[in-house]
């Protein structure tokens, strides 16, 4: 049997190499199908990995509470002058909700920042020290400011990588330097480690952190004293997030004296929610590519079936000869199945190459992250094998069921 299979494979290769153009055109569908699968999975996995990294860069089990209500479409409304969240809310949440391991707050504004003759317009964040822990910021040099800095409204600042590059010359020492925010001098006490893009696509390293109290009193102006841009909280376990969210909602509604028929005047998002939004975008893409891949594989399969039917007709006499010298139905069936599989596997192989090149091009041209996975390549191979088998079966069976004498007489 092994000699039979080996020789049959060799025969199949020879027959295909005789009709290279025909074989190539037949394989095209499979090539496109498998190429699409490989590219699709690479882009999908690349996107997922990037999203996971972004979501992870938020911190661990983070809950974000923003002022303003949520509309049906999920877009936050009622921003601008809305002053609905305060530091007292944060303190109260911490006190009432044992599930929350920590709460913090932040308020941001874009300001002019000056170092010597360089200046930069960037977001300045007044934050509580706990905010830095919740968001998992780490340091290249220096360290976070303290509760004492907070109480004394110290003029200390932490700067992100992008801000550092824009404010300082390469090699210039930032630690201990004095920068001016809205003309108020601040001493740099920490340089933050880079985080990259956020899940929303903004540069998280274009940032300056100063103590919330300092920001309120010396930089932002005091018309909304005690109000914050957003509250942050975290739980120990991610499983506690849903319950913690409910707790926060109840507490805040009570504190804000909302009637049961009134909508929330705040919006709560967890890290998990944010990840989901991103994932659904990449899922849309995946579904689209999956559709392309299935259609191409189907078309490719039909192409193989068609060319095999032609081949069975063309080689009817040969089939008759083979039967006359003792080929059984199994032998003829196997021969044509092997031809079908050879076509589809070749197509699959070229498709894998096309897919890898496509994924690379996507990274180079569109800048999307891609990840080529061995699993995808193996799956693609299995798929092309299955397509060859499935669509080869009908023509092969047709050949095997020919009547020997009629096949021999066929002209």
């Amino acid at each position: 049997m092994s000699a039979f299979v080996l020789l049959t494979v060799m025969t199949a290769l020879r027959i295909l190499s005789r009709n290279r153009l025909r074989a190539g055109l037949t394989m095209l569908g499979i090539v496109i199908g498998v190429g699409a699968v490989i590219a699709m999975v690479s882009i999908g996995q690349g996107a997922r990995a990037a999203v996971q990294a972004q979501v992870a860069s938020m911190g661990t089990n983070v809950i974000v509470i923003m002022p303003g209500s949520t509309t049906v479409s999920g877009v936050r409304g009622g921003q601008g002058g809305a002053v609905t969240l305060t530091i007292n809310d944060a303190a109260d949440l911490k006190k009432r909700s044992p599930l929350l391991s920590d709460t913090g707050w932040a308020r941001r504004d874009v300001m002019q920042i000056v170092n010597g003759n360089r200046n930069w317009n960037g977001p300045v964040n007044g934050v509580s020290p706990s905010y830095l822990t919740i968001r998992d910021w780490s340091f290249m040099s220096g360290g976070p400011f303290t509760q004492a800095d907070m109480e004394s409204a110290a003029r200390v600042a932490l700067i992100g990588q992008t801000t550092l590059e824009n404010l300082f010359d390469p090699g210039e020492e930032a630690m201990g330097a004095t920068i001016r925010i809205k003309n108020v001098p601040f001493q740099v006490v920490g340089v933050l480690a880079p985080k990259g893009q956020s899940a929303q696509g903004t540069d998280q390293d274009d940032v300056i952190f100063i103590p919330f109290t300092t920001a309120e009193r010396k930089v932002f102006g005091s018309q909304f004293l005690g109000s914050v841009g957003a509250l942050f909280a975290s739980t120990e376990e991610s499983a506690d997030l849903p319950e913690a969210v409910e707790h926060i909602r109840e507490t805040l509604r009570a504190r804000h004296r909302l009637e049961p028929d009134q909508a929330d005047d705040f919006t709560i998002r967890t890290q998990v929610d944010i990840g989901k939004v991103q994932e659904s975008t990449s899922q849309t893409l995946t579904v689209m590519l999956f559709a392309i891949a299935s259609v191409s594989l189907l078309v490719g399969g039909i192409g193989i079936m068609n060319i095999l039917l032609v081949s069975v007709t063309e080689r009817t006499k040969e089939i008759g000869i083979r039967m006359a010298v003792g080929a059984k139905r199994m032998h003829i069936l196997t021969q044509f199945l092997i031809e079908a599989i050879t076509l589809s596997l070749f197509g699959g192989m070229i498709g894998v190459l096309v897919g890898i090149v496509g994924a690379r091009l996507t990274t180079v041209i569109a800048g999307w992250p891609t990840m080529i996975s061995l699993d995808a390549i193996l799956t693609a191979f299995l798929f092309s094998l299955a397509v060859g088998l499935f669509f080869g079966l009908y023509p092969a069976n047709k050949a095997a069921r020919l009547n020997p004498i009629e096949a021999l007489r066929y002209e």
Binding site: R322, V325, G326, A327
Partner: protein
């Protein structure tokens, strides 16, 4: 010992539209091992039809056919394939070689379906080609060989599996006199030296003269069955 071939009231009826064509009408025939039989008769008398039935390529509409004691008139396709592979060799008027496939590979074919190792297939096929005088032509494609040479490849393919019967339907029909003689000498040798039973269809009396028995067919029936000393024994 059981005769190699026993036919009882063998019928073959083709139905074309509403018309029945009775190609064979009640054939009764017994052929012993080692015989050299020539089948003659007018065109359309059913010679090829009979050969195809005896060669297990086709099955009778009615009647009984026993090959080597085995009833094959109702056998399954794979049983017939096995018989053709082990017991039977065919030589056709139009050679029936697989195109664009070397002489060696064509001659290997019966062994290929027998599951013999590739090395053994090649060795035996080369030996068979040598027996028909084609040593050195192993790698030629059929299109690169003369008609006589192609028919010799077909004979090599027919004998490579050491069959007990060889069916030859007008094997010299497409060949000139010289090539015809070569082919017939090979067949005669196979019959005399290897004891292979040969059943041959021909229109030419001097080809039929090689045989030791002559069947004459007419309208799907055997009308004459003569045994005689073969042509060679007459000469010697």
């Amino acid at each position: 010992m059981v005769p190699l071939i026993v036919c009882e009231d063998l019928w073959k009826i083709y139905r074309i539209g509403d018309v029945d064509v009775q190609a064979l009408r009640g054939i009764n025939l017994t052929i012993d091992r080692g015989e050299f039989v020539a089948v003659m008769g007018t065109s359309g008398s059913g010679k090829s039809t009979l050969m195809n039935l005896l060669g297990c390529l086709d099955q009778p509409t009615r009647g009984r056919y026993e090959l080597d004691g085995l009833d094959v008139s109702t056998a399954k396709p794979d049983v017939l394939a096995e018989l053709r592979n082990r017991q039977i060799g065919f030589v056709f008027q139009n050679f029936n070689l697989i195109p664009r496939t070397s002489a060696l590979e064509n001659a290997q074919l019966p062994l290929f379906y027998r599951g013999v190792s590739i090395k053994e297939q090649r060795r035996q096929a080369a030996a068979a080609l040598q027996r028909v005088g084609l040593a050195g032509r192993e790698q030629h494609y059929p299109a690169q060989l003369s008609g006589g040479q192609q028919q010799r490849v077909a004979i090599a393919r027919a004998l490579v599996g050491a069959p007990s019967i060889l069916f030859a339907d007008e094997p010299t029909g497409n060949l000139d006199t010289a090539s015809s003689r070569e082919i017939m000498d090979i067949l005669e040798h196979l019959n005399r030296e290897d004891g292979i039973t040969i059943i041959l269809v021909t229109h030419e009396p001097d080809i039929a003269a090689y045989a030791s028995r002559e069947l004459i067919m007419k309208d799907g029936q055997i009308v004459q069955d003569v045994r005689r000393a073969s042509h060679l024994s007459v000469v010697t």
